[in-house]
């Protein structure tokens, strides 16, 4: 079944499913509670048998909803993609049901989303951090986490005692070096520091 047909069928069956703005593949917003049923239907009734990616979005501190989980699903017979997104109802403790029962491959994707955003996947068999070390106290891809990081203890106590070092806030030296649309000609210029007045010696104004 092609992606637009699948989207129509899902919208007819789940009244909570709404169209999601998209630039490429058809996309749906669904309530978090309906997520496993919608994805199961996509997989078993509409032939979207391959889970390509699970990722998260942090819209901003104070935004409602703050966290969204996005699933990219592909049909290996129709060669078409569908994107399903679900808003986490609670910004303080974001949680959605796991889909590891449908696709075992969702396991590490969901661990990464948990590691980076702190989104918990209810029913996940082994929800540990996957990139940062166990015991790391922050969620690095959240909007309130600075790019340079925050000073943190390293995991190995013996090495810390020997080297007397820890994770530091990285010296940004004028960065982050990004190219923003409208500020410079993106095809010709290199990425520039947004605010070049501050370095590790002179702290960022307002920091």
């Amino acid at each position: 079944m092609s992606a637009p047909d699948a989207i129509r069928a899902l919208k007819a069956r789940w009244s909570g499913a709404t169209d999601r703005a998209t630039l490429d593949h058809p996309a749906l917003n669904v309530p978090a509670a309906d997520l496993p049923a919608v994805l199961r239907s996509l997989k078993e009734e509409h032939g979207f048998d391959m889970l390509v990616d699970v990722s998260g979005v942090d819209w901003a501190e104070g935004a409602v909803p703050r966290f969204t989980v996005v699933y990219h699903v592909m049909s290996t017979s129709a060669h078409d993609y569908v994107r399903i997104a679900a808003d986490c109802p609670d910004a303080a403790a974001p949680e959605v049901p796991t889909v590891t029962g449908l696709w075992p491959g969702a396991d590490w994707h969901e661990r990464e989303a948990f590691d980076m955003f702190g989104i918990r996947f209810k029913g996940h068999p082994d929800l540990r951090r996957i990139l940062m070390w166990d015991g790391y106290p922050h969620f690095p891809l959240r909007k309130d986490f600075p790019l340079s990081g925050v000073p943190t203890e390293l995991p190995d106590a013996e090495v810390v005692a020997e080297t007397r070092t820890g994770a530091i806030a990285a010296p940004m030296a004028g960065g982050p070096f990004v190219a923003s649309p409208g500020e410079i000609n993106m095809t010709e210029a290199e990425p520039r520091a947004k605010d070049e007045s501050w370095t590790e010696r002179r702290p960022k104004p307002g920091a």
């Binding site: 990139l131 940062m132 070390w133 922050h138 690095p140 986490f145 600075p146 790019l147 340079s148 990081g149 925050v150 390293l154 995991p155 190995d156 090495v159 020997e162 080297t163 070092t165 994770a167 530091i168 990285a170 010296p171 940004m172 030296a173 960065g175 982050p176």
Partner: protein, 169 residues
């Protein structure tokens, strides 16, 4: 009349099979010409490290071709690549397992300073956890640059007061 001296080198008939030298010179000569690397290949610099060991650049010319993947058999740790905070404890523990005397080469921008990774996840220079002897610039460095670092490390080793250290140890 002065005859030309043709005895350019050691002559056992004259010297009586005895060489007089300094203990430092002998020990450092042995150490510096047989430095077995511990290849700490963590990122793309490790590809250049492999090129250094391969036929075109041939690190064997400097006596450092024996890449040992056991820290107990190696003399110089070549940290080639990005050291994340998660990996840093393992790097330090492997260094701790190397037998003295031991040296460290920080190969490339990431190992030296964190490089372009001004990030929450990357150790900002391996010298925060290890005593580095030689830093190599580049991203990644050319193989010649690593050979140059090895030669500089050999020169550094040749200046060390090895005998005194051994006696006082």
């Amino acid at each position: 009349m002065v005859s030309a001296n043709t005895e350019l080198t050691y002559n056992s008939k004259i010297e009586g099979e005895v060489i007089v030298s300094r203990a430092d010179a002998v020990i450092n000569w042995i150490r510096s010409n047989s430095m077995w690397p511990m290849p700490m290949g963590l990122a793309c610099c490790a590809i250049e490290l492999m090129a250094v060991a391969a036929s075109r650049f041939d690190i064997a010319r400097f006596g450092a071709e024996v890449m040992r993947f056991s820290p107990k058999q190696s003399d110089v740790m070549i940290v080639s690549g990005t050291v994340t905070y998660k990996m840093s404890a393992a790097v330090r523990r492997i260094y701790d397992q190397m037998a003295d005397p031991k040296w460290v080469i920080a190969m490339g921008a990431c190992a030296s300073t964190g490089g372009m990774y001004r990030s929450y996840a990357v150790l900002q220079g391996v010298d925060r956890i290890l005593p580095v002897d030689v830093y190599v610039s580049g991203c990644p460095p050319r193989p010649e640059a690593l050979l140059d670092a090895l030669i500089r490390l050999q020169e550094k080793v040749k200046r060390e007061p090895s005998a005194g250290k051994l006696l006082s140890a």
